[in-house]
């Protein structure tokens, strides 16, 4: 909303300038968006009078004018056809910036004659209006009068109103708060009733009191409508409103002046003698004043004439085209009603319509303003248009005023820490319109326009904001003592650790949308109907993601499209299985597009095994239990279908608990996402990783540092190709769990010397004696156990 300083001064006697007003508004809780000062750009311009105008000796269309200006007589060359002796217009001196032309005037000859300034058109001053020539002003304006004064330009304050303060949608409400804050004295003129001279010929019936509980009406006969006087036009246009005609301008003015929307109907256009406020009906529609046609419905309040048969307005929102006031209107029916805030808000949403009235009623107009509003409008219409008013008819009952409640003034200090006397508290509340009875405890009644005030905490805010938040003390929080342990949950701690670990391993952390498209969600095993966004921001973002993989794959593809194909990304974030609080899991997801530059030393480690190594290291770092297995078995332990079937596996704890899947992504999946193969990745569901058992103590126990030398023995086994090397390693590890500490694979060979369908797997087995150095016989026995354990998988020692 906007208002001008002069408008404010109609309600507030103050010497404050516009900046002081804006500051005071800010500190009272009104969010000032900006102060627009059109006077600044008009500052160089003043009124001048052409004394004589003669044709330019070298140009037919130019005249040389002798002009009486604020700087004395000036010779000015002018091309306007209407320049003539005696014309009162606007003068711009040399050096002035002309906003409409975007130039700064310099002294230069025009066709050989020096022009000592410029005479301006409306367009050149960035003003609306006829610009066929230079401005032709009322000759009553004295030479030297500032242009800003001539055009009524003055600073405008633009501000936001929070939904709890509909009273701030009227200039009087702002003035009241500023007066309470000490900026001046509230001088809002009192409203005096205008006596009716005849019974109102229109009767009012309320068929939907839950939508419109009270409605006042009055007819004014014999008005003369037409353009509003300058002061009224200026007041409205200064804040961006259009001046229509006197009757409409009066209702608009009061909407902004008192936050009281009204409507004026042309009586001659009304059918019948009963105006009804009722619920809309299905199939009914209304051509509104904005030129659009709206369908009504039972949850929309409709104003209807002809005993309720014809819709002539959307209650509290907008009037109809057929009954609007024009310059020809002579008899007017005025409406001042109260429409339910929720109904009006819903109407705005349903119909996609907003208006000054709808905005105010949706936030709750002061119900007590129904009759005063119509009286004020009557007074203004009589002053501007003449005419003869009927009596006021009021149908229905004004909704209940806010209720009184008990209040302990000590609450102000208790809740804010401010040191404010009870007297000062009462003074502030009274200035804001509250009725304060200072008994034990106090009883406070909010004014009719403050339905937002429901209890003591609201009063505390009123006092604190008027006294000023600057006065709040700065009080350290009570010291709770240092916490005995960290403040993060185990999961939070793991997330934090994983983030730093992955970054250290060379992955760049990304944050991507929690949404994806329905098609992608379905592809990745999601797409549950409950996870669809009803009102997505874009088509491709209409479903909660079941996995982070597609987002990172798409991100990697975008990087490739920009010419940066080698990326290693990770994200730790939510994935959504269902819409319940437990359906949200935390996934640690990595996607690698391996396109490292070639290196002189040849290819390095296979990127997939590098990734596996990083995943295993990560699991160790976050404290996953020992004994994790990599399981690659399409039948008994299948991976999700978006993985390459031959190059993917699960990381499991025991036979069932899956912690992660990793591998190359399926080329078909990548194609779906417009991404180039190969891409690798892993997805670790953090919630699935069991937390370490809580230890009683942080002691690590003694270190077992054997005094005996470890020894190693190599074994080369021939085994069927389909047997995973990992299974062989595990079998060998299990041959003697106390002595065998490490089994490493140092060669895998297929080819000459090995039967087709078989492979040779060479293992280095590390043995750590624990009691005494092993004898040859003991070592032989251990070797036999190793061979026997491998034999269970069909492996034989290579000859």
């Amino acid at each position: 909303m906007k208002f001008t300083l002069s408008w404010l001064k109609a309600h507030l006697d103050t010497t404050a300038d516009v900046d002081a007003v804006a500051d005071a508004m800010t500190m009272a809780g009104l969010e000032v968006e900006g102060v627009i000062d059109p006077t600044a750009k008009l500052a160089p311009f003043t009124v001048a009078r052409i004394v004589s105008a003669e044709r330019h000796p070298n140009a037919d269309r130019l005249q040389i004018c002798q002009v009486e200006t604020v700087d004395g007589m000036k010779e000015i060359v002018c091309g306007a056809p209407n320049a003539r002796a005696g014309l009162v217009t606007i003068y711009a001196p040399i050096g002035a910036y002309v906003p409409g032309l975007d130039v700064t005037l310099v002294e230069k000859p025009v066709r050989g004659v020096v022009s000592n300034g410029m005479l301006c058109s409306a367009a050149e001053l960035d003003l609306a209006g006829d610009s066929d020539g230079i401005l032709d002003l009322d000759p009553g304006h004295a030479v030297g009068t500032p242009a800003a004064g001539v055009f009524g330009a003055e600073p405008v304050i633009d501000f936001e109103v929070t939904p709890n303060r509909p009273d701030w949608l009227g200039v009087d409400g702002i003035a009241r708060d500023l007066a309470a804050a000490g900026l001046g004295t509230l001088t809002t003129p009192a409203i005096t009733p205008v006596a009716g001279q005849f019974p109102c010929p229109v009767s009012i019936r309320l068929d939907a009191p839950e939508q419109c509980p009270v409605f006042a009406g009055r007819v004014i006969r014999g008005v003369t409508n037409g353009p509003s006087p300058d002061w009224l036009q200026q007041r409205l246009t200064a804040i961006g409103l259009r001046s229509i005609n006197r009757l409409v301008d009066v209702t608009n003015l009061i909407a902004y002046d008192r936050a009281r929307p009204l409507h004026a109907y042309d009586l001659a256009a009304l059918q019948g003698t009963t105006v009804v406020a009722r619920a809309g009906t299905e199939g009914e529609s209304l051509a509104a004043l904005d030129g659009k046609t709206y369908a009504t419905a039972p949850d929309i309040c409709v104003i209807a004439d002809d005993d309720g048969c014809r819709a002539i307005g959307l209650g509290g929102v907008m009037g109809g085209e057929t009954t609007g006031c024009s310059d020809a209107t002579t008899d007017v029916f005025l409406e001042s009603a109260w429409f339910d805030p929720l109904v009006t808000a819903q109407t705005g949403r349903t119909l996609g319509i907003s208006s000054d009235a709808q905005y105010r009623f949706a936030r709750r107009v002061d119900p007590a303003s129904v009759v005063p509003g119509i009286e004020l409008a009557t007074r203004m219409i009589l002053d501007l248009c003449g005419g003869e008013p009927s009596e006021v008819v009021v149908a229905g009952r004004t909704p209940a005023a806010p209720e009184a409640f008990a209040f302990d003034p000590a609450r102000v200090g208790r809740l804010t820490g401010l040191d404010i006397s009870a007297d000062r508290t009462a003074e502030v509340l009274t200035a804001l319109g509250f009725t304060v009875e200072t008994g034990q405890p106090w009883t406070v009644t909010p004014p009719s326009w403050r339905a937002d005030v429901e209890g003591p905490a609201d009063l505390v805010e009123e006092v604190a904001r008027i006294v000023g938040y600057d006065a709040l003390p700065s009080t350290p929080l009570p010291d709770l003592g240092a916490p005995s342990a960290g403040l993060l949950s185990p999961l939070q701690g793991r997330v934090r650790l994983a983030r730093r670990a992955l970054a250290a391993m060379g992955y760049a952390e990304a944050v991507t949308w929690s949404f994806t498209s329905e098609a992608i969600a379905t592809h990745f095993g999601g797409g549950d109907a409950r996870l669809h966004v009803e009102n997505p921001i874009a088509q491709g973002l209409d479903c909660m993601r079941p996995s982070i993989l597609p987002n990172l794959i798409q991100a990697a593809a975008r990087n490739a499209d920009r010419g940066h194909p080698d990326v290693a990304l990770f994200e730790i974030g939510p994935v959504y299985r269902d819409d319940s609080p437990t359906g949200q899991r935390t996934a640690i997801t990595v996607v690698v597009a391996p396109h490292a530059a070639r290196h002189w030393s040849g290819a390095g480690e296979d990127p997939l095994f590098q990734l596996k190594g990083d995943l295993m290291r990560l699991l160790t770092l976050i404290g996953a239990p020992a004994g994790l297995q990599t399981v690659q078995d399409a039948e008994r332990a299948p991976v999700d279908p978006w993985w390459h079937p031959g190059r993917s596996a699960r990381v499991q704890l025991g036979p069932k608990m899956v912690l992660a899947q990793f591998g190359a992504l399926h080329p078909a999946t990548l194609k779906t996402l417009d991404a180039e193969a190969p891409m690798l990745g892993f997805e670790l569901i953090l919630d699935a990783v069991p937390e370490p058992r809580g230890a009683r103590t942080k002691s690590r126990g003694p270190a077992k540092l054997s005094a005996l030398m470890p020894l190693s023995r190599d074994f080369a086994f021939v085994v069927e190709d389909r047997v995973p090397a990992g299974d062989l390693v595990r079998a060998v590890q299990g041959a003697d769990k106390t002595l065998i500490t490490e089994v490493a694979v140092f060669d895998v060979y297929r080819g000459k010397g090995i039967e087709p369908g078989f492979k040779s797997v060479a293992l280095e087995v590390t043995v750590q004696p624990d009691q005494a150095t092993l004898t040859e016989a003991e070592i032989d026995a251990l070797s036999a156990k190793v061979v026997a354990a491998a034999g269970k998988l069909g492996a034989t020692l290579r000859q």
Binding site: T26, M27, A28, G29, E31, T162, P163, N164, L342, A345, R363, R414, L415, T416, P456, A457, R465, Y469, L472, P473, S474, T475, P476, L477, D479, L480, P483, L487, L488, S489, R496, R499, R500, A501, A503, A504, G506, A508, E509, A510, S514, F515, A529, L531, H532, V533, E534, N535, I537, L552, A555, R558, N559, H564, L569, I572, G573, P581, A597, S601
Partner: protein
């Protein structure tokens, strides 16, 4: 006599001209080996008379010692020369580049979240969390947004499709405030928590994205008042921006879930795209806060006559942008590897009281 002298001369010459460890070894064997020339002389001593032996013994032994020493010295020379030659042949061009390792990084939003967690942990706050998909009760009703109230519209809420069975329409949480409700409903005061997380609003332009991050704070106890709120936030903001003090302004505002409510502005100069705190004369809003509304406390089963406290909420991405000079919000969520490399943080820049925040 002459024989011995000649033998010594020959041996010493041969040792001096031996050009390999192997040739030297052959010389050693020929002189000092079992059948070596000096060994033979030493064996001959046994057949001599005691007088002869007294004279010849020292001569032959002396010869053996000198030859032996010459062999050792020559061996050391030859070994040193061989090592030098081998090392020369082992030359590597160390100006060749090593294999490049990818430089990983931490996303600025998450770095800043870590910083916030660290700062609030020092003030005794623990970290609470809640789901991104919320019900209407936790996101709105319990936070004192009456049904259909215009304040709900200000949130540009994303709705999920209604549950086909129950008809319930879940929302993507528009703020992290529902975590307040979950915390208060599941525990008892005193409460001192922050709740970081993802939040969602249907909004997209240069300064808004449909998903962003907030950190919510909640302190409930018997005597917590607005002065505590002011101190907590002033202290936090100063420490976050790593300045000694902050020129802040609290301004009345309206939130349904707090009463009184405020917004906090900081004085700054942002000319030239650089944020200079405590300078210039413009105020920038950085967060919203207030005393928890009695209705909210009551809904959560806490008696507002006994307990009171404050809550605050701030945009993490925006604070990251302000602190680290990130000009545009949208690339935060685009995962451009160049952007991540430029604005990301080292894995080892974890905030700590000793080392600082980043």
């Amino acid at each position: 006599m002459t024989d011995l002298n000649q033998l010594e001369l020959d041996l010493i010459n041969a040792i001096g001209s031996a050009d390999s460890v192997q040739a030297l070894e052959e010389l050693r064997v020929s002189a000092l080996g079992k059948t070596g020339s000096i060994s033979g002389l030493l064996k001959g001593l046994g057949a001599m008379s005691p007088d002869e032996r007294r004279v010849e013994g020292p001569r032959i032994n002396g010869l053996r010692d000198r030859v032996s020493a010459a062999l050792t010295a020559r061996k050391a020379e030859l070994e040193a020369a061989e090592l030098e030659a081998r090392l020369k042949s082992e030359h590597m061009d160390l100006t060749l580049p090593p294999r490049a390792a990818r430089a990983g990084s931490v996303h600025p939003t998450l770095q800043v979240m870590d910083e916030m967690v660290a700062l609030f942990a020092e003030m005794g706050f623990s970290v609470a969390e809640g789901p991104d998909i919320e019900d209407d009760f936790h996101n709105f009703t319990a936070l004192n947004f009456p049904p259909k109230h215009p304040a709900r519209e200000m949130h540009d809420t994303f709705f999920l499709k209604p549950d086909p069975e129950t008809g319930e329409r879940k929302v993507l949480r528009t703020h992290t405030s529902p975590v307040q409700i979950r915390t208060m409903m599941s525990g008892q005061p005193p409460i001192r928590i922050i709740a970081p997380g993802r939040t969602f609003r249907k909004d997209s332009d240069a300064t808004h994205t449909p998903m962003f991050h907030q950190v919510e704070g909640l302190v409930i106890d018997r005597d917590i008042h607005m002065g505590h709120l002011k101190w907590t936030l002033e202290t936090f903001v100063a420490r976050f921006f790593e300045v000694d003090g902050i020129d802040a302004r609290f301004r009345p505002h309206h939130f349904p879930f707090t009463e009184p409510s405020a917004e906090m502005d900081i004085r700054c100069d942002r000319s030239g795209g650089v944020l200079k705190l405590n300078e210039g004369d413009s105020w920038m809003e950085i967060l919203g806060c207030g005393m928890v509304h009695p209705n909210v406390l009551r809904t959560c089963g806490i008696d507002p006559d006994e307990y009171q406290g404050f809550a605050f909420g701030m945009g993490v991405d925006r604070l990251a942008m302000l602190k680290y000079g990130i000009p545009d919000l949208r690339p935060m969520f685009e995962a451009d590897s160049r952007w991540l490399a430029h604005y990301g943080f080292s894995a080892f820049a974890a905030p700590s009281p000793a080392a600082g925040l980043s």
